[in-house]
Amino acid sequence: MRIDLEGFGKSYGGVPVLRDVSFTLRGGRVHGLLGENGAGKSTLLKAVCGAVTPDAGRVLLDGRPIAVGSPRDALRHGFTLISQELALVPAMTVLDNVYLGRWRNRLGWRRRRANRREFAELTARTGFELDPSALVRDLPIAAQQQVEVLRALASGASVIGMDEPTALLTRNETERLLEVIRRLAADGAAVVLISHFLEEVLSVCDDITVLRDGRHIKTGPAAGQTPQSLVADMVGRPIELLYPEPRPVRPDAPVLLSARGLSRGTAVREVSLDIRAGEIVGIAGLVGSGRSETLRALFGADAPDAGVVEVDGRAVAPGSPARAMRAGLAMVPESRKDQGLVLGRSVRENVALASLGSRQQAGFVRGGAEREAAGTMLAGLDVRGSDLGGPVWTLSGGNQQKVLFGKWLMDRPKVLMVDEPTRGVDVGAKGQIHRLLVELAAEGMAVLVVSSEVEEVLGLAHRVLVMRHGRLVGEFARGRATPEQVIALAFADTPDTEPSEENA
């Protein structure tokens, strides 16, 4: 099987995101699609799978042009897309989701047993362990992704696009998914994989295509490529993959954030920590270990059951983001889309949202001051190609993330807490965000970073705290731990590190 993509082009509101992109996919191979955020990867994949209508371009299947103008058309030819935002019906069962729209039926009456048999075959083929009658909304994100994969297989898909499938997965889950991807290709499917994790792409892909600014840069075999060579193609210039070195904390630096015995349900248990001015502290741990919940409790997004939080020596009343902010706390939340940005509103309004009080007169927004402050902030953060008045959803993920940072830096907080600073962000923006965090700390801010990427936490922080089952279970000074050690502690299968508290 050979799939030729020819001359794909697409513009949004006059701004081209894809320009005359052509390359070839082959059955039985995994094809990596790389590029910075905004390079056009997702748009291309959506266009090929009928989720968006391209302005130009056609698909040839074994030399014959085929119509893939709608998801239905695309599915008919075996093209299917597993996108970043999972397209599942949360209130339905796993089985119903897998066979959504193509339930076995006789005269409209469903034949559940036939579906169940097929489901069993599918799970055997992929090695997934899923309960067909579980509700999708009760499943963790990794399992939901598996449901999407099963659905693609159930539809007999022969061309499977995956847009950042591993962004939300833990290391083990990622390994398992990559294994499945290899198996799909071995069975003859053409898999297109978008991922920001270059090691992962190199480990699983046979071919790699790089896009930059909507243009096709190159397509070739993965063998012989290195992360450095790929990054150079993606950004058009060589870039340092190294983390910037944080400036040492001054020995007399005051403690800016202090928590004692912070608890909330079973998610956060007696967390105590101190962060000094100029210090970057990282929290590592598995998904569900209570990292994000700890940040939320510190910030007052969720009210803690017990514990004290002090900012710069003064106690902060619990359970109110507004009060936490007045004390000098800021939190960049985990999910831009759900917790961070108001996607339908303009860039300017989003940047201004957390600091409206600073630029008002008798309740009126001082428009000029706001435009200037927002413009300066975004220029400083290198948000490119943005119209301050345009809705924020039109920006690339990396730029959206920078807007989110900008929003929280407008009032210069004393303590900046960041949950997943670079999730779904391209390599270039990632480096910029890392440098920004190091710079902010150097200017005297206390920074608390949570990330699922252990390398990120280790690379940025002066000190790394490890969390497990809602407790802080270990601490490493900078340079004193390998990713493996941190992960081992997070999983708690090493008896010889810290005093473990298993039966808490």
Binding site: D338, R345, G363
Partner: protein
């Protein structure tokens, strides 16, 4: 993080800007079309008398649509506006009889504010969806109105009846009624409130993404209660106008008009998903709906067809709007 990026600077493009904003005006085009057709096909449409009349007709539904627009932008629905309207009008009549017209009007407005605040508190505290909460509360309010009036029509006392109807009088401004001026003033205030103040920004943010708003330090509960309170005041003002016009009030006042008001808000292009829209859009919607009634009148068409035409025109206007704005999702 400026070292690597001096070459690109922030090139702030004048991207989609103007053309997008023009496309936004699709619904305005629809209204202009109707105005042109009516102006050409009748000799009576473009007369001062008719336009004054048109504005007066739009006043009550306009006040309600302003309330609906505000609430919908904040991400909620207020189905109780006409029940609040009726109860406020009844309280106004009762207090007028007890303590005079000025006190009566004030009491009417206060009733609206209180009932609106109750709506807001119920929605925020009990966390029932506003659609259901205000539906239930509206039934209660109508019920209270029936109890207060014993199901009858209530009138202000004879010596106060004239002053009570002041809102329906024409003013020195070319005969434009006091009700019309009140309507325009409320529109102006709400317009400024939404588009120029930090309160307005917070309302849009809550409607667009409540969790993001809360995490940005916005006291979402307070803002929502305030929005419902404003909605209640707008409704009460509508009640005063209706009571002034009829010289009476009753429990069934303006029944069903909340749907027209919500339709007007949505027809104007305010998203039912919240976070998007504008007061002027509600105004356009009201204009469209009022024009249709006015057109039937002037053209001498049989009013039995009016509802069908009204529904069809609303659909047509909204489809045109969708078409011009393009599919984006």
């Amino acid at each position: 993080m400026t070292a690597t990026t001096a070459d690109v600077k922030a090139d702030v493009k004048a991207a989609p800007g103007r053309s997008a904003r023009l496309r936004d005006l699709g619904i305005v085009l629809g209204v202009v079309l109707i105005v042109v057709v009516l102006s050409l096909s009748t000799s009576t449409f473009l007369t001062a008398g008719n336009l004054v009349n048109l504005l007066d007709q739009a006043a009550v539904v306009g006040l309600l649509a302003t309330a609906a627009t505000l609430v919908i932008i904040s991400g909620s629905f207020d189905l109780s506006i006409t029940a609040v309207l009726a109860l406020s009008a009844i309280v106004a009549v009762a207090v007028t009889n007890a303590a005079g017209v000025g006190a009566g009007m004030t009491a009417g407005v206060l009733t609206g504010a209180v009932l609106g605040t109750v709506n807001g508190i119920v929605v925020v505290r009990i966390k029932v969806h506003s659609f259901i909460a205000t539906l239930a509360l509206s039934i209660i309010y109508r019920g209270v109105a029936v109890i207060l009036t014993a199901g009858a029509i209530v009138y202000p006392a004879d010596d106060r009846a004239t002053a009570f109807q002041a809102l329906s009088w024409p003013t020195v401004l070319g005969g434009v009624t006091a009700a019309s001026l009140l309507f325009l003033a409320v529109v102006a205030v709400c317009w400024v409130l939404l588009s120029r103040t930090t309160f307005g920004r917070r309302v849009y943010a809550i409607g667009g993404n409540e969790e993001a708003a809360r995490l940005s330090g916005i006291r979402t509960g307070q803002i929502k209660v305030a929005v419902f309170a404003i909605s209640g005041v707008c409704a009460a003002l509508g009640g005063l106008v209706l009571a002034a016009r009829g010289g009476s009030a009753q429990a069934s006042l303006a029944t069903g008009m909340e749907m027209t008001a919500i339709a007007a808000a949505v027809v104007g292009g305010t998203s039912v998903m919240g976070g998007e829209g504008a007061i002027w859009r509600g105004l356009i919607g009201v204009l469209l709906i009022t024009l249709i009634g006015n057109g039937f009148n002037l053209l001498g068409w049989d009013t039995i067809y009016q509802q069908v035409v009204q529904g069809a025109l609303i659909l047509g206007a909204v489809s045109l709007d969708r078409l011009l704005r393009g599919r984006r999702s």
